[in-house]
């Protein structure tokens, strides 16, 4: 077998195995599997943008919240169907992402991080205000007859779409352009790449997938509140999982998401008051000891074994 087919074949086998998980997992492991699928989608989509460009986006929580909030409002107040919102909410979120991108991605990375840092919190304040003053503060419900298995398969389909998109990106002009931008933006400009536009396009896809995941996961909570869906913590978890796995490889975030979700689950159960401290320590450990993530470590040992 030719080397370039190893990745896709292994990926396809793993995907089929992942799709069979609901037939063997019980309730507890199924809920963990849903969480893993959700973070895999969010972290991989994050890494497609932030990996090559080195722009740290903390907007995941905002996009996720837009998805969850829109589907809840539409189903509770306007009797629109879940499937319609599955289509509309990601587009709305992608437009928001494009607007943010045009405002911030022309400038240096610091401005972008700062802007996305408070974004989820800001949208949450805005939404709460609109809801309290104009819509009446009622609870929003997302009532469907989906089980965890259905949600899991939908998320898995999103993961597949993101992986295919990432694979396609790695072999076309846009992906190549992003790599050059990440290495040296000046060079990229001089060889005629529209740097701002390339970054905005990729950031828009992050917005799209973030809201898509937000919509799909909403039936799991069934009762939706702005305070819950616009969670700044989610943005940080996505960043940390993607970096732990390694943002420079398509499969990198996946190898970060799985161990981190398991550890995170154990910590939230055993030490519910120490989660923030743990998050801080995890950030520090990654920066100082595994700057290239697990993917970097795996590659290092792999090449050493072959040498």
């Amino acid at each position: 077998m030719e080397a370039r087919w190893v990745g896709p074949v292994v990926g396809a086998v793993l995907f089929i195995v992942a799709a069979l998980v609901p037939y063997v997992a019980d309730g507890y492991w199924m809920s963990i599997a849903v969480t893993i699928a959700m973070y895999t989608a969010l972290a991989t989509s994050w890494a497609l943008f932030s990996g090559p460009t080195h722009y740290i986006s903390l907007a995941s929580g905002a996009f996720f919240g837009i998805g969850g909030y829109l589907v809840a409002t539409a189903m509770s107040d306007y009797q629109l169907s879940f499937w319609l919102m599955l289509f509309i909410a990601p587009i709305v979120s992608a437009v928001v992402a494009a607007l943010i991108g045009f405002a911030t991605l022309r400038l240096s990375g610091v401005y972008f991080v700062i802007f996305t840092l408070g974004l989820a919190e800001m949208i949450r304040n805005l939404v709460s205000w609109v809801q309290n003053n104009f819509l009446g503060s009622r609870g929003l419900y997302v009532l469907t007859d989906f089980t965890e298995d259905h949600i899991y398969w939908m998320l898995l389909a999103v993961c597949l779409a993101i992986f295919l998109f990432g694979w396609w990106l790695s072999r076309n002009r846009l992906g190549f352009a992003l790599k050059i931008i990440g290495n040296d933006e000046e060079v990229a400009k001089h060889v005629g790449i529209n740097t701002a536009l390339s970054k905005v396009i990729l950031f828009t896809t992050t917005g799209f997938f973030g809201a898509l995941v937000g919509v799909i996961i909403a039936p799991r909570y069934s009762y939706i509140e702005p305070n819950q869906v616009f969670s700044p913590e989610l943005s940080f978890l996505v960043v940390i999982m993607a970096l732990l796995g390694g943002a420079h490889r398509l499969w990198g975030p996946l190898v970060g998401v799985i161990p981190f979700t398991l550890i995170w689950e154990a910590i939230t159960i055993s030490f519910p008051n120490s989660t923030t401290l743990f998050l801080g320590i995890a950030f520090l450990l990654i920066v100082y000891f595994i700057p290239n993530g697990f993917a970097g470590l795996i590659e290092k040992y792999w090449s050493r074994m072959r040498a």
């Binding site: 080195h54 740290i56 405002a103 911030t104 022309r106 400038l107 240096s108 990375g109 610091v110 401005y111 991080v113 700062i114 802007f115 840092l117 408070g118 974004l119 919190e121 800001m122 304040n125 805005l126 709460s128 205000w129 003053n133 700044p232 940080f236 970096l243 008051n273 120490s274 989660t275 923030t276 401290l277 743990f278 998050l279 801080g280 320590i281 995890a282 950030f283 520090l284 990654i286 920066v287 100082y288 700057p291």
Partner: protein
């Protein structure tokens, strides 16, 4: 007029905090996202010593600021200098320092939550006083005056002393500063520590009139960053004007529309700055 006076008083502390962040980013080249936690630490110290030992926040200020200076100096020496050394470019350092200071910020929030998980509520100098026909609490006025004094000292030190000039030289160009015999590493460490100490001072002052809790730091980080960017990195005059604008707009939105929208207002200003004057209010467009 009410809005103007309260906004002005709030802006004094904002300007002070932004000055600290400006020093850290402009001189030590560290984008410090744990700045807000230094503010909250100051507030926690003031709250704790006031409720436990009835110590005036003004006394706490004298103890907390040197402690914070030392603590931040250690943070720079132990955690941040390795990043400065290993960074191949300014961009690399920015990404690393952002992630590392996120880590520091979360770790500090975690520790503070375990010390005191509830609001830092206490009452100090909460008596009304009338200025310019507006009634305000004395604590706001005192905080403003102290912030102005500290800010003025800082400004004079930077402008008119030999050590202040060395700091400004590093801000302009670290390489050239090294050539004229300035110990860039030492100046960076001390400036970073100074910036953190200033944030702590701001926190002690702010806690006398705003009730904080352990996890609110990130909001202050956001506001300080918005002020620094609006004023222009390294521009103290710009930061003061920017703090005034933010203080007054926030107070106006809080009184006229809804107190829950202050962050939205700050974001709106931030967006305008990014769209029209990303180089800062008085900055020149770089070519």
């Amino acid at each position: 007029m009410d809005i103007f006076v309260s906004g002005l008083l709030l802006a004094g502390t904002y300007a002070l905090i932004a000055m600290g962040l400006n020093l850290q980013y402009g001189v030590a080249r560290i984008m410090n996202l744990a700045n807000g936690e230094m503010i909250v630490l100051g507030a926690l110290a003031a709250f704790w010593s006031f409720t436990a030992y009835q110590i005036s926040p003004l006394v706490t200020l004298l103890v907390a600021v040197p402690l914070s200076f030392f603590g931040n100096w250690l943070i720079y020496k132990i955690l941040l200098r390795p990043l400065v050394r290993r960074a191949k470019s300014q961009g690399q350092l920015e990404v690393d320092s952002i992630l590392a200071t996120f880590g520091i910020s979360f770790a500090l929030v975690g520790i503070m939550v375990s010390i005191h998980g509830a609001y830092f509520t206490y009452s100090f100098l909460a008596n009304p006083i009338e200025i310019l026909g507006t009634t305000v609490a004395q604590n706001r006025l005192v905080a403003f005056l102290i912030a102005v004094v500290i800010g003025a000292c800082l400004f004079l030190w930077l402008r008119h002393t030999r050590s202040g000039t060395a700091v400004r030289a590093v801000a302009v160009n670290a390489e050239s500063a090294r050539l004229v015999g300035i110990n860039v590493d030492r100046v960076s460490a001390l400036t970073f520590a100074l910036g953190g100490a200033i944030a702590t001072a701001g926190g002690v002052l702010i806690s006398t009139f705003i009730t904080l809790d352990a996890s609110i730091g990130v909001i202050f980080t956001m506001k300080a960053l918005i002020i620094v960017i609006m004023g222009g990195v390294g521009d103290i005059r710009g930061a003061i004007i920017a703090a005034l604008i933010l203080g007054i707009v926030e107070t106006a939105v809080a009184t006229l529309v809804d107190p829950g929208l202050t962050l939205v207002a700050a974001y709106f200003i931030f967006l305008l700055v990014l769209l029209f004057r990303p180089q800062g209010l008085f900055g020149r467009r770089s070519v």
